[in-house]
Amino acid sequence: MPPSTPSESSAPSPTSSGISLRVNGETYALPVDHRTTLLDALRERLDLTGTKKGCDHGQCGACTVLVDGRRSLACLQLAVATEGREVTTIEGVADGDQLHPVQQAFLDLDGYQCGYCTPGQICSALGVIEEHAAGWPSAVTADIAPQAAPAPLDAAEIRERMSGNLCRCGAYASIVEAVARAADGSSAGVRGTEVTA
């Protein structure tokens, strides 16, 4: 964790407060400028740089994290307003060295190119799978009557639900395949051979 900067002492002031953040199961006590977004607190104060800043305007989805299990744009949320909530970032998705099935599917199916939108895509995918499993409809769900059986999480559903996450490299086709595979729980038909070097 980088050293705290001289202007931000732990003493309360009109422009800063000491807060406690819960991130990936760890508790961090830190003073923050009231203007500090959750995104900047993660990246600049906790050295959790896996959450990306693509636009800082809530337009690209690169900063998507899970707050209390739901998808949230870290750039549109103040750090002080996140106190007492459980934040999950990309660094908290894997189980030690064991990748989460969503991460493994992105890796195997090449669901990325430059990788900059990837943490946001993966966090968003985790949210999508949960939301779908909970029966939440999307704009392309044909039957949204409460008693309707959940629609399958097909490509159209995934595309619609993932549309808040832009990918300029254009890895969309493989991302949709990866989300579908992870949601399916299947790991058959790995396209690429992993090389370690």
Binding site: K53, L99, D110, Q113, I158, C169, A173
Partner: protein, 715 residues
């Protein structure tokens, strides 16, 4: 969804790594968030620079009111033209004369909205941002002109015209069928997901920089020139790059970070905002293109005339060479092309994925489709009738030309044979359906590079080359190339890239990166094997061989070397809303040896998505009153999102160049070429209306009939 399949036949002895799908070496780091991009590498005692850019389009800075800002909490300094260190500006490099945009804070003139005018330095990003917002800069403004038109009086022909005017006119006049159409494309922006960021510090007499770029050796060389330093005194690294597409040459953030670190005597980071990317990192100029085709009734081309117009800034000439696209596509009796450029009070455009070829292919490949319609011939048949033996301008033979193989295999997979050629006759509810096709081509160039390969004492090998992996998969591709060149398993290769200390190498640009770097890696590996063949054991520090490909590239025979491709698209057009939805796309490519089928497919598909996005979404709108953009953010500038992208497929055919020692052609750009034309041609097939202005927005679709009539009346 179908997995891309294809075969490649290389002309090198392969050990089996090249041509087999491999996941990315850095894949685990990317999916776990541990891959650090330029702004994320920890530097102790980092200060933060926030750039302030001009709000006027033309004039002079009369005051930068720094006093109030310097009194704000945490503010360390404000750099501007009144106090900035001097930079050198009298050099030339790969991209031409020194770019005035990189001469930050050297004079008081403002040539466009979004020009760098001051850098606020502070202890925290929040303090720097607040102070930058508060900084008052006063200007003496002058009238500006940002209105691009092919009839602009300041426009001029850029470079020599190719072909004869009289000869082309004669051939057009003698033609039985003529297409004469005007196409336009709007201003388009790269917008890699990672905004430009750089960190710089002085360390033991060396300027150490972490930057996001397409070539760290290139950037290090430019920084040394700008700051009058020895080349050895500058080190630039860029291990992970969050997309580039041409936007990441040397850009202002790295010059600003180096300048500020020099002034403050401490490490400085400068990150551009998304909005600032609209004016500081290049973009694709809007184009107007007039294409005239003359043909016999059977579709044989007698004349091809392509005139292209683009904009540049008032201080640097960049030409979007759209008119060059047709030079090697077809074999007309008479050929003429010329690029024209109009200087305006706008930022300088730059290379953006398939510069020239992307807009040029939209115009010419739509015109070819219009010719096919007029002749009553299938557009693939028409192209087959116009295959050239040699480059129509150069007269040189092709190293390999497999355009028709792409069309044949693509047509088979797409189901083209069942297509009813009549437009506007397929309806499904409120949707009109249509299919379209277009050809693609991108030159296959190569540039000298250096590489080093070390045999380690533990039996592994380390490759060092200043390559850049901007998402292309270059790191992995080069490891596979090295494995085959050394005849060892890929697991025994360590690859290190993107560090200027590894020596000069080609940038990741022009689809030349992997081809150029692979050549150097192969030569270094060969030299190492010769050393190892002499016997003896590998010493503890390893045994290293180096290569510089300058001489062998110079000996390459003169030929027309290009990748080719065939694009197919199916669209649905909503007659009620004017919305165009692409339902499926297929690209078939002939692009030399495919090193890694897994990442190659991704690159082809990514390029095709750029083409779809160009056809339907992307358009930066400039406001004549202010000279700046309307909606300069990712909500105002639309790029294709998940929901816009249908079922896509890409594949490739064998493409062997017998006298090329590497056989790799480069695939970063060919995917976008022709893709927008295929979509536009499909929209015509669906609706019966030609859309010659991009993007094909709903309002244009709804008003197309009336616009068409007005255009015809005015012509």
């Amino acid at each position: 969804m179908t997995v891309a399949t294809g075969t490649t036949a290389g002309n090198r002895a392969a050990g089996g790594a090249v041509g087999t799908a491999h996941t990315r070496l850095e894949g685990r780091a990317k999916v776990t968030g541990t891959a650090r991009y330029a702004g994320e590498v920890p530097f102790a005692e980092l200060a933060h620079g926030q750039l302030v850019v001009s709000t006027v389009a033309r004039g002079r800075i009369t005051a930068v009111e720094t006093d109030a800002v310097l009194a704000m909490p945490g503010v360390l300094d404000v750099l501007h033209h009144g106090n900035a260190p001097r930079l050198k500006g009298d050099y030339t490099n790969l991209l031409g004369k020194a770019d005035p945009l990189l001469q930050v804070f050297q004079q008081d003139r403002v040539p466009h909205v979004g020009w760098p005018v001051a850098l606020v330095l502070a202890e925290t990003p929040e303090q720097a941002r607040e102070a930058a917002d508060a900084l008052v800069v006063r200007y003496a403004t002058e009238p500006h002109d940002v209105a691009f038109a092919e009839t602009h009086p300041a426009g001029y022909g850029a470079g020599a015209q190719t072909g004869g005017t009289a000869e082309t006119k004669k051939a057009l006049d003698a033609s039985e069928v003529v297409v004469d159409a005007r196409y336009t494309t709007p201003e388009e922006h790269h917008h890699p997901m990672e905004p430009h960021a750089a960190m710089a510090r002085w360390d033991g007499g060396r300027l150490e920089v972490v930057d996001t770029n397409q070539g760290s050796a290139f950037v290090a060389d430019e920084l040394a020139r700008l700051f009058s330093l020895d080349a050895e005194s500058v080190r630039v690294r860029s291990e992970h790059v969050g997309g580039a597409f041409g936007a990441k040459a040397t850009r202002p953030q790295v010059v600003l970070a180096a300048m500020a670190a020099t002034v403050l005597h401490r490490p400085v980071r400068v990150v551009l905002t998304r909005r600032q990317l609209f004016s500081l990192v290049g973009y694709r100029s809007p184009t107007v293109q007039r294409v005239r085709l003359g043909a016999d009734a059977d579709g044989r081309l007698r004349a091809l005339d392509h005139q292209a117009y683009s904009a540049t800034s008032s201080f640097r000439e960049f030409i979007e060479r759209s008119a060059d696209f047709g030079r090697v596509m077809y074999g007309p009796d008479a050929y003429r092309s010329e690029n024209h450029v109009v200087p305006l009070d706008v930022p300088t455009p730059s290379f953006m994925r398939a510069p020239g070829e992307a807009p040029g292919s939209f115009a010419l490949e739509c015109a070819i489709d219009e010719l096919a319609e007029k002749c009553g011939i299938d557009p693939i048949t028409l192209r087959a009738r116009n295959e050239p033996e040699v480059g129509v301008v150069s007269g040189l033979p092709f190293s390999s030309r497999n355009l028709l193989a792409c069309f044949e295999e693509g047509a088979r997979r797409f189901g083209w044979a069942e297509r009813d050629p009549r437009p506007g006759v397929r309806r499904e509810g409120r949707w009109l359906l249509g299919t379209g096709t277009a050809a693609a081509r991108f030159p296959s160039g190569v540039a000298p590079s250096t590489a080093a390969v070390t045999a380690e004492a533990d039996g592994t090998f380390t490759v060092r080359i200043t390559a850049a992996d901007v998402g292309t998969g270059a790191r992995t591709a080069l490891a596979l190339v090295a494995a085959d060149a050394l005849e060892v398993a890929p697991e025994r290769i360590h690859i290190r890239i993107a560090d200027s200390d590894f020596g000069p190498a080609m940038v990741a640009g022009g689809s030349m990166g992997t081809r150029s770097w692979a050549w150097a890696v192969i030569e270094a590996a060969r030299a190492l094997r010769e050393k190892l063949a002499l016997g003896g054991t590998v010493p503890p520090q390893g045994l290293t061989a180096r290569a510089d490909t300058g001489a062998s590239i110079g000996a390459l025979s003169q030929k027309e070397r290009h990748s080719f491709g065939a694009q197919f698209a199916e669209v649905a057009v909503d007659v009620a809303t004017g919305e165009v939805r692409v339902r499926r796309m297929l690209g078939m490519f002939a692009a030399g040896e495919i090193v890694n089928p897994l990442t190659a497919r991704s690159q082809f598909l990514g390029g095709m998505i750029w083409g779809l996005s160009m056809a339907l979404h992307e358009e930066a709108v400039r406001d004549g009153a202010t000279g700046g953009h309307v909606g300069a953010d990712l909500a105002g500038y639309h790029i294709a999102a998940h929901a816009d992208i249908p079922q896509l497929d890409a594949g490739w055919v064998d493409d062997v160049d017998e006298d090329d020692p590497v056989g790799i052609k480069g695939i970063g750009e060919i995917g976008i070429v022709g893709a927008a034309a295929a979509v536009a041609n499909a929209v015509w097939h669906a609706t019966g209306v030609r859309h010659r202005d991009l993007p094909i927005r709903p309002d244009r679709v709804l008003t197309a009939g009336s616009t068409e009539q007005a255009g015809a009346a005015g012509a």
